[in-house]
Symmetry: C2
Subunit: 109 residues, 2 copies
DNA sequence: TAGACTAGTTTGCATTACAGACTAGTATGT
DNA sequence: ACATACTAGTCTGTAATGCAAACTAGTCTA
């Protein structure tokens, strides 16, 4: 009989946490998008205090993961980038926070 | 009058979170050390399911941050490495979890 | 038409996390 | 005696990451 894989505690599952969401800067971005439904680049830039380059690369990463939608358009000749959560992203964020809350309840300290 | 720096929400502080603790593998390691007071390399290896190389480098990182103490000794001709939290490490872990709990309470979802 | 501003993207770099190869010695089997 | 397996780690190589500064492209203003 092959030894059954030991049942992992909630705590041990932390190593499998979604790294895309776990990164603090992205968690912050996702938190904003989760509540506002749609935001532009500058709004996020101000709220997060990230640099432009950094914000841009995090958004690209989130897009590649299928978590945010990046829509570029012009408003009176000025380019505007609109960001919004995808259904996937909404789910991922929710899963992540659910998991983390559980973990922190189990955690000592 | 110089504009006062906007008061950051609890949420925004997440970007300043202690990255040494935030890394899932290390959070797991610290959680074990927080409760057992002292553990050896193999114990952590089994509990965490990390590879040896990975565990080793995480421990070195924690040591460099001043969070864990690495004591090497021989027990009946067999080398044994004992790990324990330093006072600093205990404090850092506690601060981290306190901060994260607050953040997750504020978080939507 | 020069300078400043808006709105980002691209590039370069230093740091990470991770696993696999390697070291060094002990215990066991034949 | 010699090989194999185990204990206990460390060292090395690599791909990915996060970050900021430099750059692009166009608009507005004095």
């Amino acid at each position: 009989m092959v030894p059954k894989k030991k049942e992992a505690h909630e705590l041990q599952k932390i190593v499998d946490i979604d790294r895309v969401v776990h990164e603090p800067a992205r968690l912050l971005i996702l938190s904003y998008l989760y509540v506002v439904e749609s935001a532009d680049f500058l709004f996020l830039l101000r709220q997060t205090n990230l640099t432009k380059g950094n914000l841009s690369s995090h958004l690209m990463k989130l897009e590649k993961a299928g978590y945010v939608n990046i829509e570029k358009k012009f408003v009176e000749k000025i380019p505007r980038t609109l960001l919004s959560l995808t259904k996937e992203g909404r789910k991922a964020f929710h899963e992540y926070t659910k998991r983390m809350k559980k973990i922190f309840m189990e955690l000592p300290g």
